[in-house]
């Protein structure tokens, strides 16, 4: 069938219907609108002085439905990762746009990743068994080389789920310590590369004294407040929120606001924003942003 003018015009018409050259510009417009709305809402909520009111909640895509960790880079960018693969996502938290994604490589890396920490340009992913994956930040779509390490945290903890940076050290939160410890919360402060880690213990009694309904506090995420030097922790099973001092003294213990199904990650920015990531359990996975730490 020779492509006569009628058929050519038909094909052109079909292609014209499918094309959308305006899409990139539309994304930029949406980002600008969202950033303005974010700033306005942050100001409004801070002025109202209601810490429990989120300023944004970004629902995460399928690849992050099992979001396990959050971390803030020194320049204030938010990173998140999933549970099973070594894929990292940078999210512009003001506009809810996924800026980039990079992966551990060169081949797919699968492990039970539970926490992320960033210091300078160095990233660490932690598995539930306490293995560290260290790597540098990659460009969008890039696969980055990595090396692994085993922090000397001993055999007292059966499962790790949180990690944050404290100066030159990594602070690793134990979700489930051995039964002999009677439900105490253990944090391990490990100066990176050293041969030993300091254990910070939050006694079970002190936790129960503040929150009697908690048998223990199964930490699933931890972050450090640079302004006070304290640690903020969240717990999935208890849907709990805890702020403890560097010595393990409890400062805040409370239940999370009702909208959190299964908190798995927490992060804090130097301008006071608090981020809590929830895995998708009966609802969409999301990152919720509060204007300041919970009280």
């Amino acid at each position: 069938m020779p492509p006569g003018p009628r058929y050519t015009s038909f094909v052109v018409l079909l292609l014209a219907a499918a094309c959308d050259p305006d899409r990139g510009a539309q994304l930029e417009r949406t980002a600008a609108e969202r950033e303005a709305a974010f700033a306005e809402r942050t100001t409004e909520v801070r002025a109202a002085g209601v810490a429990d009111r989120p300023v944004a909640r970004w629902e995460l895509p399928g690849a992050l439905s099992e979001v396990s960790g959050l971390a803030i880079a020194p320049d204030g960018r938010l990173f998140a990762h999933g549970d099973e693969t070594g894929d990292l996502f940078e999210i512009d938290y003001r506009s809810g746009i996924v800026v980039k994604r990079f992966s551990l490589g060169p081949d797919d890396v699968t492990a039970d990743f539970e926490a992320l920490a960033i210091r300078g340009s160095t990233f660490w992913l932690l598995t539930s068994r306490g293995r560290l994956y260290e790597f540098e930040e990659g460009r969008n779509g890039e696969r980055v080389p990595y090396r692994t390490a085993e922090p000397p945290v001993g055999e007292d903890c059966e499962e790790f789920e949180g990690m944050t940076v404290d100066g030159d050290a990594l602070v690793i939160a134990c979700k489930k310590a051995r039964k002999a410890f009677g439900g105490a919360l253990h944090l391990y402060r490990w100066p990176v590369g050293s041969r030993s880690a300091e254990r910070i213990e939050v006694p079970a009694d002190s936790i129960r004294a503040r929150m009697p309904e908690w048998e223990e506090f199964s930490a699933s995420g931890i972050t450090r407040r640079d302004d006070t030097g304290t640690f903020i922790l969240v717990a999935g099973p208890e849907q709990g929120y805890l702020e403890v001092s560097a010595e393990g003294r409890i400062i805040v213990a409370r239940a999370l606001p009702a909208d959190h199904g299964q908190p798995e990650g927490v992060a804090w920015t130097s301008d006071g924003m608090l981020f809590i990531a929830d895995e998708a359990t009966g609802r969409t996975a999301a990152v919720t942003i509060y204007p300041e730490p919970l009280r």
Partner: protein, 363 residues
Amino acid sequence: MAFFTRMMDLATGGSESPVRRLLVYYAFLVLVTTVLVRVFPPANVLFAGERLEEAIVIPQLLNDGLASGTPLAMLGETDLSPRLQSVLTTFVVMIGALFLMLPVSWVYMAVRRSTGYAQSIVQTMLVLPIVVAGVVLVVRNSLALAFSLAAIMAGVRFRNNLRDPRDTVFIFLSIGVGLAAGVQALTIAAVLSLVFNVLILTIWRTNFGRSPLNLAPRAGWAEPLETLIDTADARAIPDRDLVLSLTPEKADALAERFARVRDMLGGGDGKSKKPRYNGVLKVTVSDEAAGRAAVEPVLKELTKRYHLDGVETAEGRPLALYYLVRVRKKAADDVVSAILGCGGDAIQGAEFEIATKDDATRP
């Protein structure tokens, strides 16, 4: 329908070319779609396939969980309520799937009208994509809903064997169009439908893939021979290519030879009580004289009687001696081994076929 046909005649200048009429139909759909998107821009999301992109790649723009407290808006940015959006989206998606499957059903009716036409397939083709699109709209990106759907489908357990693989292709297309419509990629569904139709029509018009042995001039002759290759019949000839390669002259020659063999064997007329011969022995030899010298003493010993019926020579193939033999059934098994064992380099192979009561036993 008459109005539609008149419009189609008008648009195609009365052309009966199915391809031309189809292209006009699709052009009409594109026109309607373009007008719809111009008048109501948010509807563009139903055609652009953005939802499909969200399902298979990481979307750049995350959904604002505080803004609406509802699932992702189905249409683009619009003032319509989410419920109305949902209704409109479902309606457009289903109507779109139907309009894209209509031409497929016409093509099916055209290409299958002579053989294997099934009205149920036509009706299924129209309804199935609508159902699939509806299911996909319900499931969306929810893994839990997808698993629930799989469980429900497993419970329903509907199964149907389609007679012709070509019907299966039409059903697959229905599912494909339904899926594309369900993920709001009606453009993909349209291209799928268009390319499929043009391809099927082309294959049909050119009779592409026909058997090279079933050439048109011989088609009339080959048809009666088809009965010889009925696989359900134990007496049938298993080599389909052999049967269909016969020209009328070859078939006549073969029939004459069969008749002569039957006369020699006897018993075929229903009058003789006992056939004179009850088996055919084929011996391949390198040399006729040496072969006969080796074979015939064995036949003298093992058979009641034998007769050299023919010597087949063909360039590039070994010489074949055909013997009609009368042999006791108990000795039938020994004939081939005895021939092969009788020796000499002259014997290259032997095959023996013995007639039984049902004429179907091979020793």
